[in-house]
Symmetry: none
Subunit: 256 residues, 2 copies
């Protein structure tokens, strides 16, 4: 099985990229983030034309997650469904395919370390960790845009990002202590020590060619699923196409 994650930064704006990329990518399950589309506006016909089904929850302008798949999922969950507020339905979606859970999150970016959104980001990560802990013996892949660069290897210039909400030490510590122990970072299993990025800021001129980016999108597997991991990689090509997202897809193959 091949799984991919892609922060599309507007699904409707990215349909040409998906139409160019997906047919040849051999992807069985695709986790999308920042679809930025309300459910009644979701471009289901275009997705179906590409041979995929879709489970989704979005809102106008912001957020939005979707799981596209060749096969119908056996079960779909939106948000944390733990009764607590906020529900975060447009930032977390999970779908089960047989005994494998695909957990797709768009973790709040956090804006500034002094901003309430940064507190919400930490809360989101804590609740996600709790959710995974409850299924730690199951096969589960936590994927999506996590807005966390876990180590110094995961950003181009760590020195000038010490105050950044995706790299500040407090956040990395939280991630390392609460999240990382539950799951295995598949990109690092297959590519230890490599400077690989999944996000290249639009505002940085020629960021892709200059390799100025961030690794904030991830494929993190529970141990039982990690055993099946065959490969994990970032496909930087779509970032270089016309009208790209600022993120580029990441993929992982699993033995059946």
């Amino acid at each position: 099985m091949r799984v991919a994650t892609f922060n599309v930064n507007s699904l409707r704006s990215r349909l040409p990229i998906l139409e160019r990329w997906l047919p040849g990518a051999g992807v069985d399950v695709l986790a999308l983030q920042e679809t930025k589309v309300q459910d009644q506006e979701f471009p289901l016909a275009d997705v179906e034309k590409l041979g995929y089904r879709a489970a989704f929850r979005g809102e106008k302008s912001y957020n939005g997650v979707a799981i596209l798949s060749k096969q119908e999922p056996d079960e779909v969950i939106h948000g944390f469904a733990d009764g607590a507020s906020p529900l975060w339905d447009t930032r977390l979606i999970a779908a089960r395919f047989g005994d494998i859970w695909i957990l797709d999150t768009y973790v709040p970016q956090g804006k500034e370390i002094t901003h309430p959104d940064y507190e919400a980001k930490k809360e989101f990560l804590r609740r996600t960790a709790a959710l995974i802990a409850a299924r730690k013996d199951e096969k589960l892949l936590w994927t999506g845009d996590l807005n966390v660069a876990p180590t110094e290897l995961d950003v181009t210039n760590p020195a000038n990002k010490k105050e950044h909400v995706c790299f500040v030490k407090e956040l990395r510590d939280l991630f390392a202590q609460l999240c990382a122990p539950l799951v295995i970072d598949l990109l690092r299993v297959h590519h230890p020590g490599e400077e690989l990025y999944s996000f290249f800021d639009y505002r940085v001129k020629n960021a892709l060619e200059r390799r100025i980016g961030w690794r904030i999108d991830h494929m993190l597997a529970t141990p039982s699923l990690a055993k099946q991991s065959l490969a994990c990689w970032i496909d930087a090509e779509p970032r270089g196409w016309e009208k790209p997202s600022d993120h580029t897809p990441m993929l992982a193959d699993f033995a059946d």
Copy 2:
């Protein structure tokens, strides 16, 4: 020599259309209107890549005229240059190629017959007529978006346009008395009686296929130039392409 006129409704937005249309169009001189670009933002590099030079005067958001040409013009004039205010530099540009003047105007639309802009429109037409009268024995082509549909043949439904600033009888009378006697309507020389339009409102669904439009862009030649007229036609194709202007190009061929 082949001359064309095209109200692009934003030159920068229309570069893909120009890049698709111009290379095969065989145009020597192209009069543009509604470039909607300040001079310092004019996409000169793109125009030069297409093999053209450019004389232009534009402003932010509104108006803007340009004359693109394979050959460097011998002389360029902006506005009426008659000392009177307003100067209307971003609505009138003229370029001389040898003994032929190309006068490119974007005549004010006028908004409403009760609006001050409608008075300004009539004044613009009077001053243009005076300008042409002063050169009536020279070879001169008055082209551009004139925002005048001269006759009932030139709009789809004349009955419901009697109050429209581009068709109201007062305006047609002014045009017929002041402008028309000075020049020859080349489209009508070559296509008398045909329902041909150069403008199709974006707001009218499938206006092109339903042939609901206006003939408000023109090619009007002084008698000495009209003698050289070989053909004149509207190319409706670009109106059907992706991200079109609401106008479509009009062309004219002249014997050397």
